[in-house]
């Protein structure tokens, strides 16, 4: 690990300013992903700005009947919150399907959104990777691609976003709130928060340098059966091959977002009009434009069948 200066920020604006003024600075909250990457020298910040004292650890009701989740709310606390369990069960389910108890105790809401891909070529510093070194090339393309993206990929990158939580946030139409070094705030719909890789896979989110996430807001509850189906190689403590976050209503209408298939949580609102006609009809629009390899083409079948299973469960 490279040496770094450590400082604790007292206010969100102070934290944002500290990171904005130093191109080699990074925020640290839970640290479960960042420190792992620092040990491997994939991340080499020279200044860490600890944001744990910023008091962004509350879950509060919003005026329009939703919930505002502080950036520092730990994954365990968010999943266990009685309001979330009752009104946003898909979010609890997604969180509980991710990582381990130890990691969820440390990992934060904002940090979960900002975690990096688990593409093995991103982790292997001996292999070229456009995320680690823009322009170096992508070792995954033509490599071992069973776990890689099948939607929204580019010639530069076929990595997936590993978060379960973000998939639930996407199906709930969550909004990411941020503050910038000058104190200006903005609200970014989670749909626009993560970027597709395109020619710049190293730029993963809509955040500007130094911009700090302060909260994630959920709109008022969406009625219906909430579920999160995660398909993985182990029964617990593994990343998704495919995951399906669903909110399904008795009349057959509903929403669906996919994890494990793209560089961001994958949702196609237009495809949801086909919900009453079943998973196959939805999959046609949801998975349109997929680009697969021999090793990961199974993800399309798996996504459709996982959605079908979720629909069957909601009907029973």
């Amino acid at each position: 690990m490279k040496a770094f200066i450590y400082e604790r920020a007292r206010t969100p604006v102070e934290a944002a300013a500290a990171v904005a003024k130093d191109p080699n600075a990074k925020f640290i909250a839970g640290g479960t992903n960042l420190l792992d990457l620092m040990k491997l020298e994939i991340e080499t910040p020279r200044r860490l700005v600890d944001v744990n004292d910023l008091k962004l650890d509350r879950i509060e009701p919003t005026r329009d009947g939703g919930l505002r989740i502080g950036a520092l709310v730990r994954n365990t606390d968010l999943a266990a919150d009685k309001r979330v369990r009752k009104d946003y069960a898909v979010l609890s389910r997604a969180l509980l399907a991710g990582a381990s108890g130890q990691l969820r105790n440390k990992a934060t809401t904002a940090g979960n959104l900002l975690q990096r891909t688990r593409c093995p070529y991103f982790y292997d510093t001996n292999m070229p990777c456009n995320k680690r070194k823009p322009g170096a090339g992508c070792s995954a393309i033509g490599g071992f691609t069973r776990a890689h993206a099948v939607l929204g990929t580019s010639e530069a990158c076929i990595a997936t976003h590993p978060s379960d939580m973000a998939v639930a946030m996407r199906v709930l139409d969550a909004v990411v709130e941020t503050v910038r070094p000058d104190g200006a705030t903005r609200a970014i719909p989670v749909a626009d928060f993560h970027r597709l890789p395109g020619n710049t896979p190293h730029i993963e989110t809509a955040l500007m340098p130094g911009e700090l996430i302060t909260a994630v807001t959920l709109p008022k509850p969406v009625g219906g059966e909430h579920a999160y189906h995660k398909v993985r190689d182990r029964a617990s403590y593994a990343f998704a091959l495919v995951s399906v976050a669903t909110i399904l209503r008795k009349d057959g209408s509903g929403r669906v977002a996919l994890g494990g298939v793209a560089h961001k949580p994958w949702r196609v609102e237009a495809a949801e009009t086909a919900m009453p006609r079943g998973a196959k009809a939805v999959a046609e629009g949801l998975l349109a434009g997929a680009r697969t390899t021999d090793q990961n083409a199974f993800k399309l079948t798996l996504a459709e069948r996982a959605l079908d299973a979720a629909m069957a469960q909601a009907r029973s």
Binding site: K2, A3, G31, T32, D36, A80, G101, N105, K106, Y237
Partner: protein
């Protein structure tokens, strides 16, 4: 004449001494590097097993390395050092975490409980006694992490924290084998003592539902 303490220098002390001299011999390289490469040293105070432990640490020191290398509390084990195996699990401010994936400097003033703080060879913690009784280990390397994790798991269930296998999210979770297996999945045991570990934890909890 050498004192008896010198003669009883343990393998562990010897390894620590060797590591220290290696660090000193490595120092000139560090000194010659650009200022930004120089280690940053800070003061931090941990409350470990009820005792205040002030330390001067390189900011890079993980909580795990602070415990093992600086405080010589080697009960907490380093397995993968990447948060994948759970051998380094300790309880910080009442919650289990992977001590390898957090910096000591982030825990100034925090209460840390390690396996040394749960029980002693003379007075075992009920979980330690149950692991012995149920053969909840073979090589024992993952055991301190398993036991710290298990203690926190029982507290989490008591506090009503749900898990991936909790059937009804609106109800408090029940103490079942499935719940224990899911909640302990962040602790890997390569000897495969899992079923005995579940029995040991269930025994301490007063039986499974």
């Amino acid at each position: 004449m050498a004192k008896s303490e010198d003669l009883s220098l343990s393998r562990r002390d010897l390894m620590a001494a060797t590591a220290a001299s290696a660090a000193i011999s490595g120092a000139p390289g560090v000194a010659g590097a650009a200022p930004s490469d120089a280690p940053s040293v800070v003061e931090v105070s941990l409350e470990v097993n009820g005792q205040k432990r002030p330390l001067k640490l390189d900011t890079r020191t993980t909580l795990l390395d602070a415990l093992r290398e600086h405080l010589k509390l080697t009960g907490t084990k380093k397995g993968c050092d990447h948060g994948q195996c759970g051998a380094c699990t300790v309880i910080v401010e009442g919650r289990r975490i992977n001590s390898c994936l957090t910096l000591a400097v982030m825990h100034d003033g925090d209460k840390v409980t390690t396996i040394e703080g749960l029980g002693t060879p003379e007075k075992l913690h009920p979980l330690q006694a149950a692991f012995v009784k149920h053969d909840g280990y073979q090589c024992g390397y993952c055991t301190p992490g398993q036991i710290c994790s298990a203690k926190a798991v029982l507290d989490e269930i008591k506090a009503g924290v749900p898990s991936h296998v909790t059937i009804d999210l609106t109800e408090d979770p029940r103490l079942t084998e499935a719940e224990l297996r899911e909640r302990m999945s962040g602790n890997i045991c390569r000897c495969g003592a899992y079923s005995n570990i579940v029995e040991a934890i269930g025994d301490v909890a007063g039986g499974l539902a």
